[in-house]
């Protein structure tokens, strides 16, 4: 008899096919489920496993009410600030994420946002879609050259290091801030800053790659933005919660920051529409990992975690371990 699976949101075709082949599966075509809908379908389907994502939050009270036949909740994505991991541990529910498989793709997108913000891609594209037909003088609409500028990376994990590798191709000196200094073979010449404030002061472009959650709420706050050099650039592909958006709007509006590239926001998808009124931002709808290859790999990795737990092994990407 096949194990029983609930898929709480739409997944790619290849992932859906594997879910149907290996499980008695109920697949949602929606974007995610609230707690009531989730508890309902997991219970009525007598699910052994749950495949879900950040649009289906597993808060403490939701975890407490999940039926005991559910053995694993495997999340698609690397961030897990939508999961109360401590509650999962208390209730002995295995939970997992999908690290590694999206690093390259998110790093590519980070460089895209850096280039787009520095080289004014939104303004340039808007000119074209309006039909162009105007000549520019030599000092019209000048952007910032990316090559040779100092890149500051907040959070030098796998994605941060993949960003550094790409930035080196542009001859960019790299600085980073991390709780702990990395060993030299992982620094690859990048300079460590003991504080985020020091990093903000010394870099020209700040890329944010920290995890979300209460511990990092608004770590890029008004004071950090104020310490950034006049004319510098902020890029965020990690979590909207990391940045004080009111302070960022002011810094972009005043010209203290030259530009920003944003893939993530507080309250997605109902983000602060004041960003859409600014010319000096490049906006993206949380698509850092949005390639066919990566979205397939993320779903497959989540299913690998489910297979392991249902076979009596530990999830390879378990978020808590005994």
């Amino acid at each position: 008899m096949k194990p029983r699976l609930v898929v709480a949101q739409r997944v790619t075709e290849a992932v859906a096919a594997r879910a149907r082949a290996g499980f008695e599966a109920v697949l949602s075509e929606g974007e995610g489920m609230d707690a009531a809908a989730l508890l309902g379908v997991v219970t009525t389907h007598r699910a052994d496993a749950l495949l879900f994502g950040s649009s289906t939050p597993l808060a403490r009270e939701t975890v407490a009410r999940l039926p005991a036949h559910l053995r694993i909740a495997a999340s698609i994505g690397v961030g897990f600030d939508h999961i109360d991991v401590a509650a999962a541990r208390t209730h002995r529910l295995a939970v997992s994420n999908t690290p590694d498989v999206l690093d390259e793709c998110v790093a590519d997108f980070t460089l895209l946002l850096i280039l787009a913000a520095c080289r004014r891609a939104h303004e340039y594209e808007a000119i074209m879609r309006a039909g162009w037909r105007q000549k520019f003088l030599l000092d019209d609409l000048l952007g910032l050259r990316v090559s040779g500028r100092t890149l500051g990376i907040l959070g030098m994990g796998r994605i941060g290091r993949a960003v550094a590798a790409r930035a080196r191709g542009f001859g960019m000196p790299i600085l980073y801030h991390n709780r702990n200094r990395l060993p030299p073979e992982r620094e690859q010449g990048a300079g460590w800053c003991a504080s985020l404030g020091e990093l903000a002061e010394r870099c020209d472009i700040l890329a944010v790659h920290a995890p979300g959650g209460p511990g990092t709420e608004k770590i890029v706050d008004r004071a950090v933005l104020a310490r950034m050099k006049p004319g510098s650039v902020l890029v965020n592909v990690a979590r909207g919660s990391l940045v004080d958006e009111q302070a960022l709007l002011e810094a972009l509006g005043s010209g203290h920051l030259f530009a920003a590239g944003l893939d993530v926001f507080q309250g997605e998808p109902a983000f602060d529409l004041r960003f859409a009124a600014l010319p000096n931002v490049f906006l993206a709808p949380h698509m850092g990992s949005a390639t066919r290859e990566t979205r397939d790999a993320m779903g497959m990795r989540a299913l690998d975690n489910i297979d392991a737990v249902l076979a009596g092994r530990e999830a390879p990407d378990a978020l808590w371990r005994p």
Binding site: A107, R129, W132, P269, M287, R292, G299
Partner: protein, 322 residues
């Protein structure tokens, strides 16, 4: 005071750093209002001058050059192109003419990399969706693009810009293929794979970047037949010359899905753009601002001043066209 220093006539307003250096080293006559000067005004400004720093909008034809004062020794232009200067007339008078090649390479390669990433990752579509306030939620299947890391990049024209682009793309783990009049020495190729044969080059190019010069040899080079030989789902980027592309064929391949996406900075007949592009979501369009960074514009001015410095010091200028 200025009696000791040679007179330099600058025809148009230039970046502040360039004007500052001009004023430091020469008795500089500037045009702070940036008014376009008539021939008589250029002649008046050049009276007693040893050097002129001009721009592409100035017309230095044979009659004007013949009327320039005997004190004049060098004309430097703030541009790569010299179509606006009658080089034969300058040579006949023994005037040196200098231009500013090469300094645009990095900024233009950045625009090629930006277009490559933005086209592959559907950033134009994402930007428009978010900015219009139409973002409804996150789904694993939304705006799924093409991965860049580890893919093959074919570069047509492996000059300075092509090689700068190759260096950037290597940071993304891309495998570089190229076509060029001749095979590069190993030190310049840096591992890039030369194709003697056009068919193997096109077949290898999952991403194709056009960095070839204009002229009869590349006129409408990317036509329907060559597009058909690119792998299905390929991405095309053009930062070279608009005339290298047969617009109707490229637009048709983008609409049919044979090509996944394209990114364009140059156009045949610009600033008018082939209307077939404007309705397409899978093309990223920029208004020929490949060199539009403050650093690049400064560097162009400094290179022009380097040429003037050399001629007036009796040395051969590094970048002379006459």
């Amino acid at each position: 005071m200025s009696g000791d220093r040679p007179v330099l006539f600058v025809t148009r307003r230039l970046p502040a750093a360039v004007e500052a250096r001009a004023a430091r080293d020469y008795a500089a006559r500037l045009n702070p209002a940036d008014r376009k000067l008539a021939a008589a005004e250029i002649l008046a400004g050049a009276e007693g001058a040893a050097a002129i720093l001009c721009c592409p909008a100035d017309r230095l034809d044979a009659a004007l050059i013949a009327a320039l004062p005997a004190s004049l020794r060098v004309i430097a232009t703030f541009s790569v192109g010299t179509d606006h200067i009658d080089l034969a007339a300058a040579a006949a008078r023994g005037l040196a003419v200098c231009n500013t090649p090469d300094v645009l390479s990095v900024a233009t390669a950045e625009i090629a990399m930006l277009l490559l990433l933005a086209a592959a990752r559907r950033a134009g579509e994402g930007e428009r969706l978010v900015r219009a306030g139409r973002w409804s939620g996150w789904a694993p299947t939304q705006l799924v693009g093409r991965g860049v890391s580890g893919r093959r990049l074919g570069i047509l024209g492996m000059g300075r810009i092509g090689r700068e682009l190759a260096a950037m793309a290597r940071g993304f783990g891309m495998e570089i293929h190229y076509r060029n009049r001749s095979r590069l020495p190993a030190a310049l190729a840096a591992g890039a794979i030369f194709h003697e044969d056009e068919d193997t080059f096109l077949a290898a190019s999952e991403f194709l970047s056009l960095n070839a010069p204009g002229g009869a040899g590349t006129r409408q080079w990317l036509n329907a037949a060559r597009i058909a030989r690119l792998p299905r789902g390929a991405v095309v980027v053009n930062t070279g010359r608009g005339t290298s592309v047969e617009d109707a064929a490229l637009a048709a391949a983008l609409a049919s899905g044979h090509l996944a996406a394209a990114g364009l900075d140059v156009y045949d007949g610009e600033p008018v753009v082939f209307p077939g592009y404007l309705g397409l979501e899978n093309v990223v369009l920029l208004p020929h601002l490949g060199s539009a960074t403050a650093e690049t514009r400064d560097a162009m001015g400094f290179r022009a001043l380097d040429g003037i410095d050399a001629v007036l010091a009796g040395r051969p200028p590094e970048f002379a066209v006459a």
